[in-house]
């Protein structure tokens, strides 16, 4: 008889789960810890000095411009996340329910635009929505006024962000619906629930966790958006993210940039925490393990 000594289940779990977890710990969590440290340092001529101080935070919290940028990014992100939610739900539902064997293809078709870089796509959006863009050109050809609100404005930035991150929302809800038992809806209907009632009582709560993940997946990059506002936002479009990016580009003020990063991280984490509080694992249908 051959056969090696069996490994304990727990050992097996750790052997398989730990490499990836360690990878993420070393290359994500440690870097974030390090910028928290650097945010209390000082930069001089593209070099960091361990000269502990609170100046970066003092400037950030007292100079109104930064707080305005932060507030602007935050509100844009909230609006974008909810827009994606409203439009994303029926779309994801349609794919999961009626997509049949083409479901995977339908979802991949949402991801495929990412094969084209963000800059090309956003500048193409600019080309479509801008003052001499295709959209307004058509309007003017028919003797109508061009729609000004979609040129170089926060609305334009918002449309751009919805454009970029809507696929995340749809995919998150779709993945959740994939494991949802649609027969439960029939049970609800037989017990007298009208379609809307069945949705609110059954579908929505059981898929709230996937929806919450979708909201976060849209909110987080929208809040940190830097490229889109530069292209579509016009002269007043500067966002917290684009100013943050500048600290690591032209100006090279890394310590200050780190502090901005920490604030961005803190705000996003707070929002994630608030969303997470609303997820009741017992009632989300997530039991951790099937059967």
């Amino acid at each position: 008889m051959t056969g090696k000594r069996r490994l304990k289940e727990h050992t097996r779990f750790l052997l398989m789960a730990l490499p990836g977890a360690l990878f993420i710990f070393v290359f994500l969590l440690l870097p974030i810890l390090s910028i928290i440290v650097f945010s209390f340092w000082r930069t001089e001529v593209y070099e960091l000095y361990a000269d502990w101080n609170l100046d970066n935070y003092r400037v950030l919290l007292t100079e109104p411009t930064y707080m305005i940028f932060l507030w602007r990014s935050f509100t844009t992100a909230v609006v974008v996340a909810f827009t994606c939610l409203v439009f994303g739900w029926p779309i994801a539902y349609f794919i999961a329910r009626y997509g049949g064997r083409y479901r995977l293809l339908m979802i991949l078709a949402l991801a495929a635009p990412f094969f084209t870089g963000i800059i090309l796509r956003v500048s193409a959006l600019q080309g479509i929505m801008g003052p001499v863009g295709a959209f307004n050109m058509v309007l003017m050809t028919f003797g109508m006024q061009p729609i000004e609100i979609i040129m170089f404005s926060r609305v334009a930035t918002g449309i751009g962000l919805v454009y970029l991150y809507m696929p995340f929302m749809v995919t998150a809800i779709y993945l959740s619906l994939l494991n949802f038992d649609f027969e439960l809806l029939e049970v609800a209907k037989i017990n007298g629930a009208r379609p809307w009632r069945a949705f609110i009582e059954i579908t929505w709560p059981l898929n709230w966790m996937g929806t919450a993940i979708g909201l976060i997946l849209v909110f987080v990059p929208s809040m940190a958006a830097s490229v889109t506002p530069i292209f579509l936002g016009g002269p007043n479009g500067a966002s917290f993210g684009s100013v943050l990016g500048k600290q690591f580009g032209e100006t090279g003020t890394w310590a200050f940039g780190s502090a901005m990063g920490v604030i961005l991280f803190a705000v996003s984490s707070l929002v994630i925490y608030l969303v997470w509080l609303s997820v009741d694992l017992q009632r989300s249908g997530f039991t951790g393990k099937e059967a």
Partner: protein, 271 residues
């Protein structure tokens, strides 16, 4: 009864129409890019004037060949790392009991909740100050893979939650060693999930700007070339290259559609 039926049809066709609108919205800029790739003037493409100059320049230009090669390396490198970590990680979480399970799931998912920009700058500073690593394709692959692993993990978890792991038990009882069991039973039933994870993590890294930009050093990829060329106006080669990439993608979709249409490969869908 009739009203309910009408409502059903309405909501189905309504949401279907929304999906079509979303596709139009998503692909309009792509169509626009393809259109401009054939235009004489990229910035002012109206009225249409056809030209293949972009494609000619692309054919001879070394810069873009290199950028495409680097982007492909970055995409494939990151996708391999992501799929590997996500596969073994999600199998561990789904198959084995452990009180550490929740902690592991949270760790795998937390990159989803950190913006690209933050991953970019924090790994730039960490690599530079702590590890003393210069920016190059390797550090860009690592930084992108952190982000992609979370996506790959989420996708695999959602698709494999319904896989019956007792099939593996059955295989083991009938004499299959762990690797054989993976090859004969687990893989044939879960490869669509792995393929999905691979494709998504490839896409995310291939054209990533915000993570790669801070970690690439002097290496040029497609998006960083685009970013660089913005200062003196977008070159005509970029839309041409994007049009070609999209051509390949559409071709792949067409093949996939035909495979599904004639039920040659179901990609994990069960009737």
């Amino acid at each position: 009864m009739r009203r309910a039926r009408t409502l059903d049809v309405l909501s189905k066709s309504g949401s279907g129409a929304l999906l079509v609108l979303l596709y139009v919205f998503l692909y309009a800029p792509i169509a626009y890019i393809i259109y401009t790739s054939f235009s004489k003037n990229i910035a002012w493409p109206f009225p249409p004037q056809l030209s293949l100059r972009g494609y000619e320049l692309l054919w001879v230009g070394r810069t873009y060949h290199e950028a495409l090669y680097n982007s492909l390396t970055l995409g494939i490198g990151s996708a391999v790392v992501c799929t590997l970590f996500a596969t073994i990680g999600s199998i561990a979480v789904l198959k084995y009991r452990s009180r550490w399970r929740r902690l592991i799931v949270i760790t795998y998912l937390c990159p989803l909740f950190v913006a690209n920009l933050l991953i970019g700058i924090s790994s730039l500073l960490f690599n530079r100050q702590v590890l003393n690593l210069p920016g190059n394709i390797g550090s860009a692959i690592i930084a992108n893979a952190v982000h992609g692993t979370a996506f790959a993990f989420l996708i695999m978890l959602a698709q494999m939650v319904r896989y019956d792991w007792r099939l593996d038990d059955a295989a083991m009882v009938f004499g299959a060693r762990p690797l054989r069991c993976f090859w004969e039973i687990t893989l044939p039933n879960t490869w669509p999930a792995m393929l999905g994870a691979f494709v998504i993590s490839f896409i995310l890294a291939f054209n990533n700007l915000e993570i790669s930009f801070y970690n690439l050093g002097a290496t040029q990829t497609l998006p960083s070339t685009a970013w660089g060329s913005l200062r003196h106006g977008l070159g005509p080669e970029l839309p041409a290259l994007a049009a070609l990439v999209n051509g390949v993608v559409f071709l792949a979709f067409a093949v996939m559609y035909l495979l599904m249409r004639y039920r040659i490969v179901s990609f994990g869908h069960r009737e």
